[in-house]
Amino acid sequence: MNMKEFIAKPAKPAPSSAVGPVAWMRENLFSSILNTACTVVFVAFLVSIIPALFDWFFWSANFAGATQAACVGDGACWVFTKAWFQQLMYGSYTDGELWRVNICVISLFAVIYAATKLPKDYRNKIAIPLFLVLPFIWIIILNGKLLGLEHVSTDYWGGFALNVLMAAASIIVAFPLSFLWALGRRSEMPFARTVCVILIEFFRGVPVLALFFMGSVMLPLFFPEGTNVDKLIRVWIVLILFMSGYMAEVFRGGFQAIPQGQYEAADSIGLSYWQKNLLIILPQNIKISMPNILATFIMLFKNTTFLLIIGIFEILSTTQAALTNSNWLGGHSTEGYVFVALLFWICCFSMSMISNSIERKLETSHRN
């Protein structure tokens, strides 16, 4: 008997009612009466607010000049942020030495860029160790004593650069530390587990402001007599521990999402405890936890503005100093805070982008 041959049908292109901009708008903006009403109201809202905003930001704003006298009209006085730009960005860091701060910030972005672009083999061997030494390199460069440069005491470090570097330096150390804490919390050894649970719950449970006060006032009591640990270093330690508490719980969620079979497969191959956790579990955990890691990091980054309370000249303190300067009295706070908000927003949004790119990089499969 002759067998009938099976030929699969070729795929046809989708009809024009299913793709294209008109179809998109019909589906997303005008699909129902309620949807249409929302669209109209929202568009009307944008139309009413955008011209005024643009007017304040650009058309009526004052850009030229160097003193308060240059500001006329109703628009924003960007002369203010221009005049105080160096203070806002670098604090009171010594004038001729600003290039050192720039190098630190640039090195951070260079390493982040390298970590997302390098091929996998080099990424692990170069980018990760580089990350871990970065905070210490920054301290050496900014301090300058060891390099034979002019010594700049931490009292003069400040501005937005301090916010950025402080947040980055904290997360870099908190990352491995929190993974260890999370591992310890899952450990079968009662001692390790208890210690880690206490650490995590303490640093997660106490408000970060209270921690800062403890760091600047109480912590010195625990150091041996005569040692004088710099205030900035103490705050750094507090931020690291605070961050680690949160991140450890993020990692714990990641651990629980990894199928038991992964641990069993690693065991059956004969990998040791550390090999299993670093080679098999950590990479999968980071992939799962990436959105939450980023959320925690953004929170920490924004929390660096709390440093103003204990008298460190991060960007909010310098903004306040500028606003109360006798030459600039008279209501530039909107400009000042909008500028700060924009800076933070740009940084946080870029971090979202970076995290998305890392997620895509780690994405190999949803299937087990």
């Binding site: 199928p259 079979g261 069993e264 059956s268 191959i269 004969g270 098999i280 992939k287 780690l362 499969s365």
Partner: protein, 258 residues
């Protein structure tokens, strides 16, 4: 055969006892999962374990490489007693390969990296040598062209063959298969079974396989074991096992699956 408490590896000849389980008992909380298990496996023997679900067959073979811990009895694998000592556990795991129902490939690593991970990190082999061995085994399971893909890009049957190759790369003395075809589409079961049959024929590998593939049991097994309620109810050659079951329980089981 001499037994010492050290994790020193001994050469066990074909036909000698490679796995000795004596009076093994295991509980999950108060639930008695394994009851007085006694089983001796000779080197080169191929054993199929079957039984209804919940009968303890998976638990038993998972005890052999200590994915499960048993509370009473003794277990000697390849001359090394299974005790709490990390050295013994690591030494046993190096000699025992395992294939899982759900493959358990590492999704963040390529196929080649999945295969070379153990040889590089556990056996400390140079990367080139490990990759050459890996490619050899990928050819054996007939998917060398997939080496640079990720597990998620492969079909279930291909993934399971990769999992078998991953175990083989560690050059184990014993292979454990825990329902290797249960999670596969019908069309893919055969490609995995073929690889397993080939392995049994060519290598003379000691194999313990938990499976419901009775055709596989008939062609490959030296011995078939039937478990129910945490006990070994019957063990026999495939011929006797299928044609002359001794207990009514096995008879009922066979009548239901064939």
């Amino acid at each position: 055969m001499t037994i010492n408490n050290q994790a020193t590896k001994q050469k066990i000849e074909k036909g000698e006892n490679i796995i000795v389980i004596e009076d093994m008992n295991k509980w999950y909380g108060n639930f008695h999962v394994l009851k007085d298990i006694n089983l001796t496996v000779k080197k080169g023997e191929r054993i199929v374990v079957c039984g209804p679900s919940g009968s303890g067959k998976s638990t038993m073979i998972r005890c052999i490489n200590r994915l499960e811990v048993f509370q009473q009895g003794s277990l000697i694998v390849n001359g090394v007693p299974m005790i709490d000592d990390v050295k013994n556990i690591e030494s046993i795991r190096r000699e025992v390969g395992m294939v899982f129902q759900h493959f358990n490939l590492f999704p963040h690593l390529t196929i080649l990296e999945n295969l070379t991970l153990g040889p590089i990190w556990v056996q400390k082999k140079p990367k080139e040598e490990a990759e050459a061995t890996a490619m050899k085994y990928l050819e054996r399971v007939k998917i060398p062209d997939q080496a640079l893909k990720f597990p998620g890009q492969l079909s279930g049957g291909q993934q399971q063959r990769v999992a078998i190759a991953r175990s083989l790369c560690m050059a184990p003395e014993i292979m454990l298969f825990d329902e290797p075809t249960s999670a596969l589409d019908p069309e893919m079961i055969k490609e995995v079974l073929d690889v397993m049959i080939e392995l049994a024929d060519e290598e003379g590998m000691t194999m313990i396989c938990v499976t419901h593939e009775m055709g596989f049991a008939k062609t490959v097994a030296d011995r078939v074991i039937f478990m129910d309620g945490g006990e070994i109810v019957e063990e026999n050659t495939p011929h006797e096992f299928f044609d002359k079951p001794e207990t009514d329980r096995l008879q009922l089981f066979l009548s239901q699956i064939i």
